[in-house]
Amino acid sequence: SDATPGGTLLYLEKQPHKNLYPPAGGFYPNGGILAQITDRLTWQNTDTLAIEPWIATGWSVNEDSTVFTFTLRPGVTFSDGTPVDAAAVALNYDTYGKGNRALHLPPSEVINNYERSEVIDPLTVRFYFSKPSPGFLQGTSVIGSGLVAPASLRRPLDEWGDARHVIGSGPFVVRDEVPGKSVDLVARPDYAWGPGQLAPQGPGLLAGVRIIVVPEDSIRVGAFIAGQADFARAIEAYDEEQITRHGDTIYAASTRGVNNSVVFRPDNPLVADPRVRLALLHATDRPDILRTLYSPHYPLARSVIAADAQGFVDHAADLTYDPALAARLLDEAGWTLDGDGWRRRNGVALALAVHEALPQPQSRSMLVLLAQQWRRVGVRLTILSSSPAMTVLDNLNPAVTPLFHAEVGRADPDVIKSAFYPTNRNVLLQKGGQSRHVDHFVDPELNGLLDQVASDTDPATRLADLARVQADILAKGYSIPIFEEPQVYAGSARVHDMHFEAVGRPVFYRTWLARP
C-alpha cells in the first residue's frame, strides 16, 4: 500500500518528559520528543552505525581529533524562522560543550574536552578541543546534540521543562503541552532536510503526533490493545504475546550501550571484596531470569556492553551460573553459612539492598528473582522501593545501596565512560563524583582506561581500549550484566514505516497511518 499523508498518531509514553534541554535527552521521554523536533549535525546509520550527513553535509577531522570542521546544509531554518547557520550551531555547541552557569545549563556528557568554536563562514563551523576527542563526531549524531534556536538557548534550565519553549529545526513542532500529561506535535510543512537514510526529504507524512503520558503499564497496554492508541512505549515482555495476538506489532529497538546490569558499589565494605562480587555473579542464574520474565527480544548479555555495540568482546565464559563456585568464593572471603541458612562474617550478615529502577523493564520482578537466587547461596537481598526523590538520594549512598540496577544506551564506545567514570554517571560510586557519602573507593586503573577510550584518536586503539575495559570490569566483578536492553514498542497494524534512531528512540518523520 502507498503512504497516505495526514492523520495524527496517538503515542502512549510511560513517563512525562522532564526537561528538553537536549543534553538531558538521554532520558527516554525527553529524547522521544527531541527526536521529532530537533535535527542534529549528523545521523548515525542504524544498520552500519556509520556517521552520515544531516544538517552537516560534510566534515573533516584533524590528525589527533582536536579540530572538527563542519559544512552546513543551506536553507535550513528553525521553526521560529531563524536560520540554522554557523553562528547558531556554534552557540549550540558552546553551550553543550561548556555549559552555561548563569542559566544553570550543564555541559553535555557526550562532548569531552571541548574548548571553543569558530565561525568560518555562514555555512562552515569549526570546533577545537583541548585533548583528543575521537567520540565527538558520533556525539554530533546523538539526541543530546539536537540543535535549537538561539532564542531557546537564552532560557534558563528551568524553562526548558515547557516543551513550547524548545525551538528546533525538526520535522515536527510543539503546538501545545499539558505539563506531565500530553504534548501535541504538528508537522512542519516546509521541512525538507531529513537525514539521508530516511529519504525522501519532504515534510513529515503525519499531520501530527500526540504524545500522551500513561504511566501505568496495564492501562497503557490495555488502552493500546483496546484500540485507543496507535503506538506505545515500554511494553513489558509479558504483554508482548497479547499484543501480537491482536495483530499488532512489537518493535524491539536495540539500545547498543551498556547492558542492563546489576553493579556493585565497592565503597560498601560488604561488597568491597572482589570475591564476594564474583561469587554473586556466579550465583546469578541469568538464563532463568530471562526465561521467567523476559522474551526473545531481550538477548542474554555476554559482556558489559551489547553485542551490537562497537568494540564488543564476548565474555560469556566468564558469566556462568555456578553456585558451587559462588559458595566457595564466599567461604574464602570469610562469609560462612550459619545455621539459619544465611551467610555471616563476624556476626554480620551478608544482607544487601538495591533500589527498584523505575526506567528499567520489570526491574522489580528481576530483582525479586535475583533475591530468590542469591538466597540459595545464603545472601540476603532487599529490594527497596520508594519515591523517585528518595531513590535518587539512596542511590548516591553506597552504605544504603551496595548495588545499583543500571543501563546506559548510546551507540559509541564513549558510552562505557558515561556509565562508569566518576564525574559522569558513576554507577560504581567512586570518590570524586557527586556523592558525598563515598569514603574511599576509587579505581584509578579503570578510570585511566576510560580516559583512554574517550581520547584515543585511532579507532582501532579505541576498540582495543574498550576491550580492556570490559575485561577489567568483569574480572573485578564490578558488574553482573543481565541482558541487552531493547526499547520495546507496540505499534498498531495501522502504523507503517516506523524508524528508530541508533539507540532506539522512535522517529516519526517517515511514519504514516493506514486509513482505518
Partner: protein, 315 residues
C-alpha cells in the same frame, strides 16, 4: 452577624496559616531538597560544584527561617513559585490541573449523592425487616472497598473489555466519567451511613408517629420530613467528604492517569517538589475551610431552629 463572619474568617485564616506552616515544616525536615534531588540525578551528570552553585542560586542553602519568610512573603503576594521538577510556574500547573479534578469531584460527588439517596431510600423503606437490616450493612461494606482496586477492575472491564469508554486520549467530562463513578461508590458510603443514622434518629421521634397517624405514606414521610431533618448532620461531614474526594483524586488520577491536582500532588510528594505540594495543600485547606464555612452558613437555611440563636437575639 458581621462580627460572627469576621471571627469565622479570622479562624479560617488561622487554619490556613497553620496548615501552611505545618506543611512547610514537614517538607523542610525531609532529607535533601528538590533542587538537590533533581540535579543529583546521574542522568544530568553534574559535578558537586555545579550542584552547589545551582542550589545557591535557588536559595536552597539559606536557613529554614529565611526560606520560610521568603515562601510566606511570596505566597502572600499571590505567587506560588516554580516547580523545581518541571520548571513551570506552579500557578500554571494548577491552572492546567484543576479542571480535571473539579470535574472528577463533581461527577463523584453527584454520583455519590444519587447513590446515597437511592440506597438510603431502599434501606429505610424495604418491605422486610431482615432485608432492611441487610441493606444497612452494605454502606459499611462499600466503605471498605479500596478505591484503587475498584478502579483497576472498572478500567479493565468497562474500558478494555466492554470498550464502553476510552481511558486515554479523552478529555473533558468524558475523561472523568468512569473514574468519577467509580470514586462515587466509596464516597457515598459515609454519606449513606451518616444519613441513615440521622434518619433513624429522626424516625424515632414522636412527630413521625403523628404523621403516620394522619395517614401519611412512608415515602412521603421520608422525603418531606425525614430528609430535611436528617440533612444537617449529613452536611456536617461535607468537609470530610471533601477530604475523601481529594484523597480519592490522588489515587484515581494515578490509576487513570488523569492530569488533575491529585496526580500533581502524588508527583510532588514523589519528587519532593515543595512549591507544588505546598500550593496543593493550601488549596485543599482553603477548600476545606470554604466548605465548612458554607455548610455553617447553610445550616440555618435548612434548620430554622438555628436561625434565631445565630441572629444574636434573645433565647
Amino acid at each position: 452577624m458581621t462580627r460572627y463572619i469576621l471571627s469565622r474568617a479570622a479562624q479560617a485564616l488561622l487554619v490556613l496559616w497553620g496548615a501552611f506552616t505545618l506543611s512547610f515544616v514537614l517538607l523542610q525536615v525531609m532529607p535533601g531538597d528538590a533542587v538537590l534531588i533533581k540535579f543529583q540525578d546521574p542522568e544530568l551528570g553534574l559535578s558537586p560544584q555545579q550542584i552547589s552553585d545551582i542550589r545557591a542560586s535557588y536559595g536552597a542553602d539559606e536557613s529554614a527561617f529565611v526560606q520560610y519568610a521568603h515562601v510566606l512573603g511570596r505566597t502572600l503576594a499571590g505567587q506560588l513559585g516554580y516547580s523545581i521538577e518541571t520548571g513551570v510556574p506552579v500557578s500554571r500547573m494548577l491552572h492546567a490541573a484543576y479542571p480535571t479534578t473539579l470535574r472528577l469531584a463533581v461527577v463523584s460527588f453527584g454520583g455519590a449523592i444519587a447513590l446515597a439517596t437511592v440506597f438510603a431510600t431502599a434501606a429505610l423503606l424495604a418491605p422486610l425487616r431482615p432485608l432492611r437490616a441487610g441493606l444497612r450493612l452494605v454502606p459499611g461494606l462499600a466503605s471498605g472497598i479500596p478505591v484503587f482496586w475498584l478502579e483497576i477492575v472498572a478500567i479493565q472491564l468497562v474500558s478494555f473489555h466492554w470498550k464502553l469508554v476510552p481511558v486515554v486520549g479523552v478529555s473533558g467530562w468524558m475523561a472523568v466519567l468512569l473514574p468519577g463513578l467509580a470514586l462515587a461508590i466509596p464516597i457515598s458510603a459515609p454519606l449513606t451511613q451518616v444519613f441513615l443514622s440521622a434518619a433513624e434518629r429522626v424516625m424515632a421521634q414522636p412527630f413521625i408517629d403523628v404523621l403516620r397517624a394522619r395517614g401519611a405514606s412512608p415515602l412521603r414521610i421520608l422525603y418531606a420530613h425525614v430528609l430535611p431533618n436528617a440533612l444537617p448532620p449529613t452536611l456536617t461531614i461535607s468537609g470530610l467528604v471533601f477530604g475523601e474526594i481529594l484523597a480519592g483524586a490522588v489515587v484515581t488520577e494515578t490509576v487513570f492517569g488523569l492530569d488533575g491536582l491529585g496526580q500533581l500532588a502524588q508527583q510532588a510528594v514523589a519528587n519532593q517538589d515543595v512549591a507544588v505540594l505546598q500550593a496543593i495543600i493550601l488549596i485543599s485547606v482553603a477548600g476545606f475551610v470554604v466548605i465548612n464555612f458554607t455548610v455553617d452558613a447553610l445550616h440555618p437555611l435548612i434548620d430554622p431552629r438555628i436561625r434565631r440563636t445565630q441572629g444574636g437575639g434573645a433565647a
